[in-house]
Amino acid sequence: MPAMESEPSDLVPRDLAAELLALSRAQGAEFGEIYAERAVVTAFSLEEKRIRSSQYSLLQGVGVRAIRGEQTGYAYADGFDPEDLREAARVAARIAREGPPGGPPRAFAVVDAPPPFVLREPFALALDETRKVELLRRADEAARAHDARVHEVSAGLADSAKRFVVANSDGLWAEERQYLARLTVTAFATEGDVRQQGYATGGGSVEASYFERQRPPEQIAREAAALAVLQLRAEEPEAGTYPVVVGPGWGGVLVHECFGHGMEGDVIRKQSSIRATQQGQLVAARGVTIVDSGTVPHSRGSYRVDDEGTPAQRTVLVEDGVLVGYLWDLLNARLTGQRPTGNGRRASFRDFPLCRMSNTFIAAGQHAPADLVASVPRGLYCKNLGGGSVNPADGNFSFQVTEAWRIEGGRLVAPVRNATLTGNGNDAMLKIDGVGDDLAIEGSTGSCGKDGQWKAVGVGQPTVRFTAMTVGGTRT
């Protein structure tokens, strides 16, 4: 496969970038930006003990954005043909239909930001295909060997290597390289008439040795297999509203959905989020601190600069229950007089940036995790969650729970299948009555969808207890 040896700046020469930026502002736009990208994805999938497919894909091109006031014009071209790029710039420029040309951009100054972590040998570049396929075979064998009731296994390994350059009419020039890898395993178990599945994953922005040293495929496979087998004897969840304890790590998807989305600069500026007027107010229980940070080592949600060239940073959203900060991209920061926080992100050059979270988590608290469960007379312990969603305008959120246990008398007494958690984000963070000291950030799995754009994110939390949440189920 082609190595990514050349520099991001090779994608578009500076003189062409300057010309495109001038074209993007030729009809009165105040701000112009180009984003040139080349992304290579390699993927292997295993089904029914066969390597079903070996894939390679290349996505490359340039997007041009023009902004006038609150209005965005966007066009892009696949590839780097200068004439296609000029046409894209002219189309984007039309958002501003009257007004004098904006003139040439300011002289470019290269954004200098430290990498959030050092990647010596990125998995996506260093490992050859034979060894990647071997990881899948090892996962398949380990899942099947774990328990005779595991009758089928699906596994996939995908890695991506991407470089981009972003330049704007304010003179910004930023270059970035990003490398991701992810190994996923789904195990299917059956016993009599009962069928269940379990899913586990590993990866992130990781070194070539990651799946050897930190998280071997056998470990991921055994987690998936153990979950599938556990679900075979899981009971139906009890419907109702009662105490819920959510385990560390991926449980942070809860704070991402039911709080984080309402803190993004676009919904704050447009005042469609209830959080827009709550600066300085108590929005979460005392003792709860919520952070978004683009600098978590090796997470999928981390980056040196965001997709607008702003360096990633750590932003405290809630400090001891009080709302202290929002997330900002360039457009929404400029319109509200705020400072960008490095949260302008886009799925690819085919999309304009949106204000997005990076790695969002609840900071560690004081409680021993075991104590948080031990003090619940009757409730649900959610060891792991699946997908979740929120409607930021009305606050209604829900999550699928992939591994749950019924709590009786402070003890985990029985596994529970297919529970759903629901509530309203407006008050969910106020219902926290205990934060554990076991913070974990899950940076190998998450993808967040917004306005049709999917983007890698990290989420995290320590063990967190909620006084009450509505649990969907069939037992009454």
């Binding site: 209005q71 299917f188 009305d394 009454t476």
Partner: protein
């Protein structure tokens, strides 16, 4: 404003087919025993309006190629947006090199002309010249009207989360080394709006309504779309919770359609070969109320889920999956059909950037005879569900558990709006308990259902 003049030769069907032949030829010369090219080109325009002004305007013209090769019975796949002839050789070599990492499998094959049948197929009227001719100014005006009408519906609606109008027109081609060559074209137009109704105290309720259509004259008047979205938002004001109970649940058409969509995988040949579906071993059995007839049809004229041939060049067809309650058919692409010793149902779905997967075309529950009001009238105490969270279905077990919004139903009428609850059951149980089916089947996208009454589900609340 007008569309940009295309540079050089446009990526129409003829050019896509020529590029496909070229790619397949190069793959064969690079050592592939068999090769298949899938090509797409797409022009898209999206305008989003907020607070009475354009928020964003996006225009694009894209094209891409996916190249699948078989070497010694093993499959390699590459995709790219770089269609330069000099790049195609590199691409072909990559595909051949990748194939040696895959497992040799005698079921791997591409359709032959005999299997793919006659071409051309009957015209499905999927291209609307009126969409192609719609000027950008008109699209912007439609989006502005859509938002204005939503805000004007009721004084409690002061803003929206945005109104969107989008058009797409695209071409697709399949060329394989057995001699199958197919090309098709389609257009779509879509409109949607999400009004926000003020509840007081910073809380608001949302209503969403929208649709995607093949032809401009199928799209509802934008003011009618706005009224329906606004009506939904206002109707939710004052929503409250209700106690946990087992009750009859009426699924609004979009909620029933979402459930149907989640069930699709249970009808896929891959899930049956892997024995990972909750319908495994149930083919031929009664799995649903006799009211239920479930169809996947890629041949409906003027429907957004239609195409004359599938992602491997096989003709699409009408597949009846559940016939009056009986599990009647499983869906296959070419590979899984060969594994199962049957023929493809024309169900290979893909984009140029992916290998074929078994997927839905127009997937729907056939309409019944009762009006939605008559169905509601059957419910003494129960729940009418018309909004849901995004996640809540388990494809292995068929378990169903969603966050829900809707209305409490008392003596056959909607008494008050409800939020903060979940609705749960299992799909087999729900299918058996379908007690009434509405006459109100309407395609807002490619998956559709009429109003459904499920005689009992568990509502989780206070």
């Amino acid at each position: 404003m007008s569309a940009p003049a295309a540079r050089g030769e446009p990526f129409g069907p003829a050019r896509l087919l020529a590029l496909g032949e070229e790619a397949v030829g190069r793959a064969r010369r690079a050592g592939a025993a068999h090769a298949e090219a899938c090509l797409e080109s797409l022009r898209a325009f999206t305008v989003r309006v907020n607070a009475g002004a354009i928020e964003s305007l996006k225009q694009s013209a894209t094209h891409g190629l996916g190249l699948r090769v078989l070497v010694g019975g093993a499959q390699g796949f590459v995709s790219t947006t770089d269609l330069a002839p000099e790049s195609l050789d590199d691409l072909a070599r990559h595909a051949v090199a990748l194939a040696r990492f895959s497992t040799s499998d005698e079921a791997n094959a591409f359709p032959t002309p005999a299997e793919a049948g006659e071409d051309p197929r009957p015209d499905l009227s999927l291209v609307d010249p009126a969409i192609l001719a719609l000027p950008a100014e008109r699209k912007i005006e439609m989006a502005l009207t859509l938002e204005r009408a939503a805000v004007g519906y009721d004084p409690r609606i002061q803003r929206t989360d945005g109104a969107t109008l989008a058009t797409r027109d695209g071409h697709a081609a399949i060329v394989n080394s057995n001699g199958v060559t197919r090309a098709s074209s389609a257009t779509t137009v879509s409109a949607s709006v999400m009004p926000l109704a003020d509840e007081g105290g910073g809380k608001q309720q949302t209503g969403w309504y929208g649709m995607v259509k093949c032809r401009l004259d199928q799209l509802a008047d934008v003011e009618a779309i706005a009224r329906e979205a606004a009506r939904r938002a206002v109707a939710r004001l004052g929503a409250r919770r209700v106690p946990t109970a087992r009750v009859p649940v009426v699924l609004a058409p979009e909620i029933a359609a979402a459930w149907i969509g989640e069930m699709f995988e249970a009808f896929s040949g891959q899930a049956h070969l892997k024995r990972t579906s909750w319908l495994t071993d149930r083919l031929g059995q009664t799995i649903a109320s006799s009211l239920v007839t479930l169809v996947d049809d890629g041949t409906l004229p003027r429907a957004v889920g239609s195409e004359p041939f599938d992602g491997e060049g096989m003709p699409t067809q009408r597949n009846v999956l559940v016939d009056h309650g009986r599990f009647a058919a499983i869906l296959y692409d070419h590979y899984h059909a060969r594994r199962a010793g049957t023929r493809s149902t024309g169900s290979a779905v893909r984009s140029y950037a992916s290998t074929p997967d078994i997927g839905a075309h127009n997937f729907y529950l056939e309409a019944g005879t009762e009006s939605p009001e008559a169905i509601l009238a059957k419910v003494d105490h129960g729940f009418y569900m018309d909004d849901q969270g995004s996640y809540g279905f388990n494809p292995t077990t068929g378990d169903y558990s969603y966050q829900a919004q809707g209305f409490w139903v008392e003596r056959g009428v909607k008494a008050y709006p409800v939020e903060g609850v979940t609705v749960a059951s299992n799909s087999l149980d729900m299918l058996a308990r379908v007690a009434a089916l509405g006459s109100d089947l309407e395609f807002l996208g490619s998956i559709a259902s009429p109003t459904l009454l499920i005689s009992e589900m568990t509502l989780s609340g206070e």
